[in-house]
């Protein structure tokens, strides 16, 4: 799965890239059929990749309804652009690229709603040792909100690298930048995350 063979896996598990019933057809064959107008083939692709696309979108906006809308937009754009998919990249990489673009467009257009918890409220309730007493769900919500608050480039790099098990090279291909820039963005994302989660981490 990983294009960068030298890269070791992240310390914890990552989101599987596919969510689909087994089918003898690989993505490339399904894409070919979809380009010929076979909407059933495209539906299989949607089923295969809907979970990972939704999770990318959710990490960006931290809101279920918005993530659902963005997921739909991603696949509709993919359908319309199928003719431009030449197969140089895997379909999963291509659909991630579309999802990231859809999410970045949304982020630049408006500040979406969020399911995040209120940092101050949580902290006040947990004095004098806020980090120790916060339960796992609240902690996760705070982390998701912190990820969402990162600058777009840092957020993109962190989400794709950390949660979707993509190599730095794959992330670089998706966002159209260099591996070095991706690593730098991941580093700064983690540094910012550390600062924003200081009471917890």
């Amino acid at each position: 799965m990983r294009a960068d063979a030298t890269a070791a896996p992240w310390p914890l598990g990552a989101t599987p890239m596919s969510d689909a019933p087994e089918t003898p057809l690989d993505d490339a064959a399904l894409v070919e059929a979809a380009i010929a107008g076979d909407t059933a083939a495209f539906d299989v692709l949607v089923t295969r990749h809907r979970r990972s696309v939704y999770q990318v979108c959710y990490r960006f906006v931290n809101h279920h309804e918005d993530a659902a809308d963005l997921t739909q937009d991603t696949f509709v754009r993919a359908w319309k652009a199928l003719g431009s998919f030449r197969g140089q990249a895997r379909f999963s990489t291509w659909i991630y690229r579309i999802a990231v673009n859809v999410c970045l467009n949304r982020v630049s257009l408006k500040t979406p709603k969020t399911d995040a918890v209120d940092f101050d409220l949580v902290a006040d309730q947990r004095e004098p040792a806020p980090g120790a007493a916060i339960d796992a769900a609240e902690r996760q919500a705070m982390v998701r909100a912190a990820v969402k608050s990162l600058p777009p480039r840092q957020r993109t790099a962190l989400i794709l690298r950390t949660y979707h098990d993509l190599s730095h090279q794959e992330v670089a291909d998706i966002v159209g930048t260099s591996v070095g820039a991706v690593k730098a963005n991941v580093f700064h994302a983690l540094a910012n995350l550390k600062k924003r989660l200081e009471p917890l981490v």
Binding site: P11, A68, F75, A191
Partner: protein, 198 residues
């Protein structure tokens, strides 16, 4: 002492791909060691935050929403016009439109006003009226009703003059059109009927 780690190298460090000599530096540099701990802790925190699992019903709804949106875009896009099941009847419909326009130019406009549907329908030849009755059964279909209205506006003998004995499969054609396309077709037909006579 070797230089401190760059941001790239800290990422390589947590990846486990940092060169051994660079990794050795971290053991001798308090600043890099502290940064490495921060990065690892932040990464662990980030990895611990899972996306809430939506309802199981959500996943099929994604497919349904995408299918609906794809169908809508296909119906409104130019590709919709390239389908044989649309092209063939639409070609027939286009011929009728052209024929109506020619007939209106050719046949004397003297007589009942086409705007008066009762007068117009009464003047319709029986055979054609039968076709129109079929169309009027589909009264809920605005496009068919509109075509029926326009056809009924032909002066007496107009259909015979055109050599038209049977309308093409207008219901098939109209059913394949979106509301927007029907509006556009209605405008075309209307403009053909209302065009000043030469």
């Amino acid at each position: 002492m070797t230089p401190c780690l760059t941001p790239d190298e800290f990422v390589d460090l947590v990846d486990g791909t940092l060169a051994a000599d660079r990794e050795a530096h971290v053991a001798t540099c308090a600043a890099c060691a502290a940064t490495a701990i921060d990065v690892r802790e932040a990464l662990a925190a980030a990895m611990s935050a899972e996306v809430p699992e939506p309802s199981p019903l959500f996943w099929p709804s994604v497919n349904a929403r995408v299918q609906a949106a794809v169908a809508e875009s296909a119906a409104t896009g130019w590709r919709a016009w390239l389908r044989l099941d649309v092209l063939v009847p639409m070609a027939g419909l286009a011929l009728v439109v052209l024929a109506i326009a020619s007939a209106i130019d050719a046949v004397s406009p003297v007589g009942p006003s086409p705007a008066d549907p009762e007068v117009a329908i009464a003047a319709e030849p029986a055979e054609v009226l039968s076709e129109m009755e079929i169309a009027s059964d589909a009264a809920t279909d605005d496009a068919l009703a509109m075509v029926a209205d326009l056809a009924s506006a032909l002066p007496e003998g107009g259909w015979d003059a055109l050599g038209v004995t049977r309308l093409p499969d207008l219901d098939v054609a109209a059913a394949a059109l979106t509301a927007e396309e029907r509006d556009a077709l209605a405008a075309l037909l209307q403009s053909a009927v209302e065009r000043p006579k030469s």
